[in-house]
């Protein structure tokens, strides 16, 4: 018996363990959709292909599985590019299946043809054009393998229509998993020993975690390690959730909008141990002053990220989990003694910095966005999955929701994509139907993919959307306030729709709060509803995110509040 390309594709996806696809049909993928019609794979029909890519990303970040999306050629494919670039920047494992015009037409400017291979080459971990049906199954297998191995990332497979329609004898079809899939290099034992000696001897150590701690599934091992060595933990935005936000040794986020005490800790430590972070400019501040008193140990799975932005003393090429497992074992075997008194002093010092400038805000007659997030944290008991957009909503979510678990804070950290939160929440809700999933958005960003409300309603996904409505593109407005003489050039967004009515028009629940005492009842009502709920909080329009490190200045110059700027 012969199988078509479409049948081979679906069979290979099933063999790969795929049970959910986010997608949108179109001319070039009709054959695949015809096959999906007969398949038990759960296909989630989004309303825009960008939504499909972000939803697959949200699904991947929460479940740890490879997210899959399927779109048509031309505009279908190009619409996914922002979603692909977002996943690439944050190393999220995804496979994007794009339709393509039949091979004889490639390069002829055919209807709905786009060179998606060329377009996505710089923003995918790898991409493939399948030219023959014989290569189809093998290529799909390889795509999944590349997406999840090493430093993960998105992989695109371009599928010309004639390949999908071609036929092949069944016994030649479904390829096995590639053998070469590696579980990561095993780290250099000597370097680990050396690192451990440094850690044990250090008087003022700090651990800095990045996205690698979550992608590498190393949260538990980190907690074990920290218990043994008693080193406080700061994190980048991407590492949030990798270490419990309620642990006494947790310093919070570091960097541009990091806590004062995390930034002071990094600026004053004598040893910085980094796990799965690439030292982005948002983390280091002025790079010459970054952890300038410290020895640096960098553990990262990606050789290209080691010594890239900051030169380190001990580079260790390894995934975070393997490195931590080894470190824990070495500790158990050798029984190192921690310099107790010195460490106490250090932890004491950190406590003083924390007392000097805790994360805080002043209540007023208007709703404070921070208060909305704090109340949300209390009502959900810290157990919700939170997605964000980019900007103030993202920073306040990172600061005021204290994440205790990995894979629960989904934020487009690297690319900073407006419109990420809602579709990502949909992906997360599909992965965890029982969990509370909340998108914390602004009135600007929510409008970038608001159409996905229809998807949520369609599949009865009770995702919650918290809009921090301030009438501004708040983060930009703040920069304009501080650095551009308060010239609010196009950051004031007038004529946003009535979000309550809009929610209702989509068939979701719409709620509004304009006064502080309405925060809790509104959140309660929204969270308890079985429907997708849009909660529109009219917040203090000119509230700013603090602490803040001005671009190009060192972390030690962290500005605690607006008073300091006057």
């Amino acid at each position: 018996m012969k199988l078509t390309g479409a049948q081979i594709l679906i069979k290979t996806l099933k063999a790969e363990g795929v049970d959910t696809i986010f997608g949108y049909p179109g001319g070039s993928v009709l054959d695949i959709y015809d096959e999906l019609y007969r398949s038990d794979i759960n296909h989630i029909l989004v309303r825009h292909e960008q939504g499909a890519a972000h939803a697959a990303d949200g699904y991947a970040r929460t479940s740890g599985k490879v997210g899959v999306c399927l779109v048509t050629s031309g505009p279908g494919a190009t619409n996914t590019v922002t979603g692909i670039a977002t996943a690439y920047a944050d190393s999220i494992p995804m496979v994007i299946l794009t339709g393509q015009v039949p091979t004889p037409f490639i390069g002829s400017d055919a209807f709905q043809e786009a060179d998606i291979m060329g377009i996505t080459r710089p923003c995918t971990k790898h991409n493939f054009l399948v030219r023959k049906i014989e290569d189809l199954s093998k290529t799909i297998r390889e795509a999944f393998s590349i997406a999840r191995s090493g430093r993960p990332g998105p992989v695109l497979v371009d599928l010309p229509k004639d390949v999908i329609q071609a036929q092949l004898e069944e016994d030649k079809t479904i390829a096995a998993k590639p053998k070469s899939e590696d579980g990561g290099k095993s780290p250099d034992r000597e370097a680990l020993k050396q690192a451990l000696e440094m850690i044990v001897k250090s008087k003022k150590p700090v651990i800095l975690t990045g996205g690698g701690i979550i992608l590498g599934n190393a949260s538990e091992d980190l907690q074990k390690f920290v218990k043994k060595v008693k080193v406080p933990v700061a994190s980048t935005l991407m590492g949030i959730g990798g270490f419990p936000g309620t642990d006494p040794l947790w310093l919070g986020m570091t960097g541009m909008h990091g806590t004062y005490y995390a930034n002071m800790a990094i600026s004053n430590c004598d040893l910085l141990i980094t796990l799965g972070t690439r030292f982005s400019d948002r983390i280091t501040g002025k790079i010459a002053n970054f952890a300038s008193k410290a020895n640096l140990i960098q553990i990262d799975i990606d050789a290209a990220s080691i010594n890239k932005n900051v030169l380190v003393d001990i580079p260790i090429e390894s995934d975070c989990k393997t490195a931590l497992v080894h470190l824990n074992k070495l500790l158990d075997e050798n029984g190192f003694a921690i310099p107790g008194e010195e460490r106490e002093k250090w932890i004491d010092q950190l406590g003083q910095w924390k007392a000097h400038a805790p994360l805080s805000y002043c209540n007023s007659e208007k709703i404070k966005p921070q208060c909305v997030i704090e109340t949300l944290y209390n009502l959900t008991e810290g157990e919700a999955i939170i997605t964000t957009e980019v900007g103030q909503n993202q920073m306040w979510a990172a600061q005021f929701y204290h994440f205790d678990h990995p894979n629960t804070f989904l934020s487009p950290g690297g690319l900073g994509t407006m419109g990420y939160g809602l579709p990502a929440a949909i992906g997360a809700q599909i992965a965890f139907p029982e969990k509370t999933v909340v998108d914390i958005a602004g009135d600007g960003s929510i409008q970038m993919n608001i159409q996905e409300l229809a998807t949520a309603v369609n599949y009865k996904l009770p995702v919650k959307i918290v809009i921090l409505y301030n009438g501004y593109l708040g983060m930009l407005r703040k920069w304009q306030e501080l650095f551009y003489g308060k010239r609010y050039s196009h950051s004031y967004i007038r004529n946003s729709p009535d979000f309550v009515k809009l929610a209702e028009a989509y068939g979701a629940l719409g709620l509004r709060a304009t006064r502080p005492e309405e925060i809790e009842p509104t959140l309660k009502k929204g969270l308890e509803s079985p429907l997708p709920a849009v909660m529109d909080f009219h917040v203090e329009p000119e509230e700013n995110v603090f602490p803040m490190v001005k671009p190009g200045t060192p972390l030690v110059e962290t500005i605690i509040n607006s008073e300091e700027l006057r």
């Binding site: 060329g118 971990k125 990606d302 050789a303 290209a304």
Partner: protein, 168 residues
């Protein structure tokens, strides 16, 4: 820091789009490719790319790591002048006349080049040599009026395959 010449040799999968990926890495990091040579190996699934770029000292580590990340790149090495044989071929077109004829013939004899074509007065001179030789010859012929020039760019091989290259 002075920029210097780096010779990068890599084995890659012989399929479409690979060169574009490799070039993309150089472009993204802002390095210019001075010369580039690509050809199939005995195993037709594999090609060797030899690539010359001018950059500062931290170039090698940076570029090697980025190239290693490409799925289609099998192996990347930097070849140093001390431990590798480096050659390029050059074709040089020049008009011969009664004035320069003797000088050209002398130069050809002196440098060990070959004349591979003469049509009317126009001759094409071939030379195979390392970078230094090529540059010297070019500088010598320059005043005589080089009409056209084509260079293959460098190809290179490490001298002892498994030996330690102490400069790396």
């Amino acid at each position: 820091m002075e920029d210097e010449i780096h010779v990068i040799s890599m084995l890659v999968r012989n399929r479409s789009g690979v060169l574009s990926r490799v070039a993309g890495v150089f472009g993204r990091l802002g390095y210019n490719i001075e010369s580039l040579c690509v050809a199939e190996m005995t195993n037709p699934k594999i090609s060797r790319i030899t690539l010359v770029s001018r950059a500062n000292a931290d170039f090698t580590e940076k570029i090697k790591k980025q190239l290693d990340r490409l799925v289609d790149v099998v192996e990347v090495t930097e070849l140093t002048q001390r431990h590798s044989i480096q050659k390029e071929m050059m074709l040089l077109g020049i008009y011969m006349n009664s004035e320069n004829r003797e000088e050209i013939m002398q130069a050809i004899a002196m440098f060990g080049c070959k004349i591979v074509s003469i049509r009317q007065n126009y001759c094409i001179i071939e030379n195979v040599g390392n970078r230094g030789e090529t540059e010297t010859i070019l500088a010598y012929f320059e005043p005589m009026g080089i009409e056209e020039l084509a260079r293959t760019g460098m190809i290179a091989l490490q001298q002892h395959k498994n030996g330690n290259d102490d400069e790396q």
